[in-house]
Amino acid sequence: MNFKLKIWRQKDRQSRGKLIDYEVRDISSNTSFLEMLDILNENLLGRGEEPIAFDSDCREGICGICSLTINGEAHGPDHPGAVCELYMRKFRDGETIVVEPFRVRSFPLVKDLVIDRSALDRIVQAGGFISARAGSAPEANSTPIPKHDADLAMEAAACIGCGACAAACPNGSAMLFTAAKVSHLSLLPQGRPERVTRALKMVQIMDAEGFGNCTNTYECEAVCPAEISASFIAKLNREYAHAILQRGTGE
């Protein structure tokens, strides 16, 4: 298969970037999208041009480092899945493919297609944890958790932290990311003691990081590689309202 590529190149944060045209030829349909970029980079290297910087690590859809917007969709057209799980058989031979980074102000660009997503770490640092000291945990089976709750918590916890939700959101909102963590922890009895401060602080930091607001377009869940449901955003809204009320009544 042959492809025409338009790839975003930008030297660093300060420089202006633009789409540059490339071509790749004789790509097998079993090649992954990132391997196709590897091949392009090999070609560039051969010509003495600097390879395109893009992030990848596990290449099996779990580490969440992928950060490409392909033909206008975060992680490309094969949802659900991260870019590393996208294979060239999903494209037409001869197709023109546009590759851009995830574009959100809170994810500043580092180089070409590489972005800085430390804002997501800071949201978790604000309260996305359960304070459990090693050594003081009670026997694991002492608190039974209904299977339904545990399964639902797992669904929320499956988030891979890629930030595609914010990248795809027309408003650049990270609600789905934040909602997934708040929901995961508040669904479990172990997470309840800190649920009020967790919801308040995580939302506060999320806003402070400069993400946009949720207007319920559900674009986030459509591109989420971990298939996190936007209903967790409703859950976050509930948790947040509950937290505001609790704080209001001084409890």
Binding site: L34, D38, P51, E60, A132, R133, A140, G161
Partner: protein, 640 residues
């Protein structure tokens, strides 16, 4: 330079060793802890849990990872589960049995005391993780669910869908985040350790390069903890993440730390087969699939191109069930892998290149229904379909072995400290617990055991004697190390040859896979040693690394790693050549039973092989740590 290796195993009966060791280890009082700075390199299950726990205890921790966030460490990709001797299933499990299985699974090449301790703390890990909010699978009654995994005869594996590693890592990442907020842990993401600094014989710091800006920094600490994972990527293609590398441990080796059993690598039997030349990584399909899937190839070579549905039951060879009736499809990893290689070598392999065997769920679907299979393995089936474009509910999966885990690593004593005082090594980066072969669902257990429950006891024992001995980061040793690092980077950029990094790395990988992979023999290993040296020369003469030093430069960061792999590969082959026996994942063709099983040489080789660096171009020196088996009897592993 180094006398006999002292593993510092505590005296007393096996089941009392850890307790009595803890009782007699030295402590650091709470108000003194903040005076110690601990450097933790790596933020996976081992590094992350160690950094979080040490921070919680009040030490000042600096934690480094090359990823852009500690949440992306490669532990995240572990699928199947984590073992613990809880015996929740009332099926006869116990600490002893987990210990025994691990020793036996490791083909009697690990230390009894370490493994027993691992089995002991396994239960605490589950308690800790549940408390952190890890959403383990549960039964309808709300209690934790277990499954049998990778050849175990008891159900002791805890799991969170097919994403156990992810969930455990996130638990530990969250604990780390909490300490970052509390100010006890300072996180340095996208920062790679390029050298270890030793002052007065003690590990006291590291030299790092920021992958973001290219800036080189010196960090001094009171102790250095390496939790930098395994070196499977030396094979180029493996199930490891692209970034996984040997650099941190190899640099420590070059600074005097012993590298133990580098040839012990695990080949995982259930991976998606290679489909093309430009493939960049192999994807693991959880071993749990073997609980319900049946492995087969056609009996006749001629049938290998036929669609599997057209091959009748009578023409199929369920070779694992045939050869190992009592374990069948659940036979240990090394055994299943080698069996797959054998049938493919016979020309009966299926799929592109004939390097694949079927893993068939038709019977399980008939017995349990598609819904049950979907519930158990749904996400794995989806992954499989994404990669291959095939629906495994309808046609059998194709699988083939791939490099997955490395049991070898830096040598450590019972305290997880290397022979260099102050240098601790935990998780996959050390060699300690898995012997010559790791059991399924034990990697996660070891990483977390080391970080949450072992290092926090053994590290203070060292620190107690180190009060006030942290050197300033501009002392001569640091400056020397920094200048060495800079010289090397300049050298990499200056080669300016023609070949790409990938092409050299790929060549190295193929060579090792062929000569030092699933089976090895002396002649092949000697050939490999020559070729590795040639390839290394080629690298330093003809590699092409573009870009600048002080910049975000992905080629440069990978170049350094490939350069280290090229040296490390040699050590691997030397070790494989030296170990004149077959054991676990190390299969020497010269040493096998008439049935083709691994044949150990317990009399002469029941030892850890620890290698000491002697200088570039010099042969490393071998130190043997004899292994004593006081509790378990050495038996020939039999999965028949």
């Amino acid at each position: 330079m180094i006398g006999t290796l002292d593993a510092k195993i505590p005296h007393g009966p096996l089941d009392q060793k850890w307790r009595s060791h803890r009782d007699h280890s030295r402590l650091v009082s709470p108000n003194n802890r903040r005076k110690f700075e601990i450097i933790v390199v790596g933020s996976g299950l081992a590094g992350g849990s160690a950094a979080a726990t040490l921070g919680e205890l009040g030490y000042r921790v600096k934690c480094f990872c090359f990823q852009d966030s500690p949440r992306r460490a490669h532990s995240i990709a572990a699928q199947g589960g984590i073992n613990a001797a809880k015996n929740y299933q009332n099926d006869g499990d116990s600490v002893y049995r987990l210990f025994h299985d691990t020793i036996k699974g490791g083909d009697f090449r690990s230390r009894e005391a370490n493994v027993y301790r691992l089995a002991e703390v396994s239960n605490q890990i589950i308690d800790q993780c549940v408390e952190q909010g890890v959403p383990f699978a549960r039964e309808y009654g709300g209690l934790l669910a277990n499954r049998s995994f990778g050849g175990a005869q008891v159900s002791r594996t805890f799991y969170a869908r097919g994403q156990t590693g992810q969930q455990l890592l996130l638990g530990c990442y969250q604990a780390l985040c909490r300490q970052i907020t509390a100010g006890t842990v300072q996180m340095f993401p996208q920062t790679e350790m390029l050298d270890l600094v030793i002052v007065d014989g003690n590990a006291k710091g590291i030299i790092t390069r920021s992958l973001r800006s290219g800036k080189i920094d010196k960090h001094a600490g009171d102790a250095v903890v390496l939790a930098t994972g395994g070196y499977g990527n030396v094979f180029y293609l493996s199930t490891n993440a692209r970034g996984c590398n040997v650099t941190a441990t190899y640099r420590a080796y070059k600074k005097g730390a012993l590298f133990a059993n580098p040839s012990f690598t695990q080949i995982h039997p259930t991976c998606i087969p290679v489909s093309g030349e430009h493939q960049s990584k192999l994807t693991l399909m959880s071993e749990s699939l073997r609980n319900d899937g049946r492995v087969w190839v056609p009996k006749r070579k001629e049938d290998r191109e036929k669609p599997p549905g057209e091959i009748s039951e009578a023409d199929r060879d369920y070779y694992l069930e045939r050869k190992y009736p009592s374990y069948g499809n659940l036979a240990a990893r090394d055994i299943s892998s080698r069996a797959a290689k054998e049938v493919c070598d016979e020309g009966r392999g299926v799929g592109p290149g004939g390097r694949g065997v079927y893993l068939d769920f038709a019977d399980a679907i008939k017995r349990l229904g598609e819904d049950t299979i979907r519930e158990r393995y749904g996400n794995l089936f989806e992954v499989y379909e994404k990669i291959t474009g095939e629906n495994a509910y309808k046609v059998p999966m194709r699988i083939y072995p791939a490099v997955h885990y490395t049991m070898g690593g830096l040598w450590v004593d019972y305290n997880l400290m290397s022979n260099v005082p102050g240098l601790f090594v935990i998780g996959e980066a050390n060699f300690s617990d898995h012997g010559a072969n790791r059991l399924g669902a034990s990697a996660l257990m070891q990483g977390l055991a080391d970080g949450y429950f072992i290092l926090p006891y053994t590290l203070p024992n060292y620190l107690a004697s180190q009060m006030g001995k942290r050197p300033p980061a501009d002392s001569p040793e640091f400056q020397q190390a920094e200048s060495d690092v800079r010289t090397r980077i300049r050298k990499l950029l200056d080669v300016d040859g023609k070949r790409s990094l990938d092409s050299i790395h790929r060549e190295l990988g193929l060579l090792l896979w062929d000569k030092c992979g699933m089976s090895r023999h002396a002649k092949g290993l000697r050939e490999a040693l020559v070729k590795i040296r040639e390839l290394r020369e080629e690298f330093w003469r003809n590699v092409r690394v573009l870009g600048k030093d002080e910049d975000f430069n992905q080629s440069l960061e990978r170049a350094g790693r490939v350069a280290d792999f090229l040296e490390f590969a040699e050590l691997m082959c030397i070790d494989a050549l030296e170990r004149n026996e077959s054991c676990g994942g190390h299969f020497r063709e010269e040493h096998q039973t008439p049935e083709g099983e691994a044949l150990r040489d317990d009399e002469n080789q029941a030892a850890v092989f620890a290698w000491e660096f002697q200088g570039d171009g010099e042969s490393p020196t071998l130190h043997r740590e004899p292994l004593h088996f006081e509790t378990v009897h050495l038996t020939q592993r039999s999965y028949k």
